[in-house]
Symmetry: C2
Subunit: 201 residues, 2 copies
DNA sequence: CGTGGTAGATTGTTCCACAATTCGACGATA
DNA sequence: TATCGTCGAATTGTGGAACAATCTACCACG
């Protein structure tokens, strides 16, 4: 429901209401909510329960700060270990196969798979956990914003570049490219956010 | 109790026993445990409750991988913003004031304060949260290992260098210095771990 | 028009209950 | 004797009801 968009940003999730709607006990709902809080999807207001996170401009910037930290480190680790990342290559392939009319959701899925592959390649449980958190938040972003996306082929080209950079072995150049890629994505989302704010305002 | 060392690594925390010992209800204990699980201090075994995390060599390496990712990014952000970090400077001062016989615990506290100051300076809520997780795990490490530490003045000197590097403005050199500093710390802990394993074996 | 108070709603926590699952002991069988 | 399966106790996972603490909204009052 959260990632569906069927819940308004900032909506308060009352315990009795939702536990009944989900057919679970209030305790169980609270336990589940705690997990989602740690993923950043919900926020706990003391004595006022949980509410769906509202992401403002600063949040998006912040999410991408952490994302940059994790992905850059993952890239460095992967490159110094010289590991191949077949899943990332597979993601690029899937990008290439997309037609002009590919659904936005498909593009997002492949994008996520690409970046997750790089994280997975590190074999670091903790970097993985931390990244899982930002990834849910990004999904939440997407659910709330539906930002503008480039044509599939442009997205494909950009990721092909990233993969080639990794294979080239030039760490600094790759790092720079990733920073640019992630920075652009963050800009995309922030402009989408501001566009929505204009509508609601 | 966890960070005291009064609980053995890998110990199972039975719900009835601990909720009674702490004077809280079983549900409350479960909720608290969930939070500690997210901090990496406890592990949940399905249908077998929670147990105190046991950190092996790989875990230490992994913790410091994430720590490196976060601190390096924090340093970069702080340096590009040109922010002063008075708390870090204060930590260095406290190091300088330490006598030869300073307690190990004091050294750890100041060390933590120094590194946390750098993280705090980013103003990034999410980098902060992620770092809080590794920090508790490091504390757990410390509680379980009591590793060998250099003389206080050496530790002081090393941190003074780090701070000076930040002030110098040379990002790459600073990054290299931090990687070395953190790598050494990780080595310290892993050797301490291996030393303990020899004893128990 | 602002202020304070009161009543209702909601959360945080406790206690009790019970199904599901795991673990260990016991005994049967080869 | 060793292996395996079965049974029972212990423990977890979940549900339900209750209650104090806290918050919210509304209303009376100055």
């Amino acid at each position: 429901m959260i990632l569906d968009g069927s819940l308004e940003p900032g909506a308060r999730l009352r315990e009795t209401e939702f536990s009944q709607r989900l057919g679970i006990a209030r305790h169980t709902f609270r336990a589940a909510a705690q997990i989602l809080i740690n993923e950043g999807l919900l926020r706990r207001l003391p004595n006022r329960g949980v509410q769906l996170a509202v992401l403002d401009r600063d949040d998006i910037v912040d999410i991408f700060r952490l994302r940059e930290a994790l992905e850059i480190e993952a890239v460095r680790l992967g490159m110094s270990a010289g590991t191949e990342i077949p899943e990332a290559a597979a993601a690029v392939e899937r990008f290439n196969d997309l037609g002009e009319d590919a659904s936005w959701r498909t593009v997002v899925d492949i994008d996520m798979a690409f970046h997750r592959a790089i994280i997975d390649a590190t074999g670091s449980e903790r970097i993985n956990r931390a990244y899982a958190g930002v990834q849910s938040e990004i999904l939440l972003c997407m659910a709330q914003l539906r930002p503008h996306y480039d044509r599939p082929e442009d997205v494909a080209a950009e990721h092909r570049e990233l993969l080639e950079a990794i294979r080239s072995g030039d760490v600094d150049a790759t790092e720079k490219l990733f920073r640019k890629h992630l920075g652009d994505a963050a800009d995309n989302l922030t402009t989408a956010l501001e566009a929505r704010e204009e509508v609601t305002a």
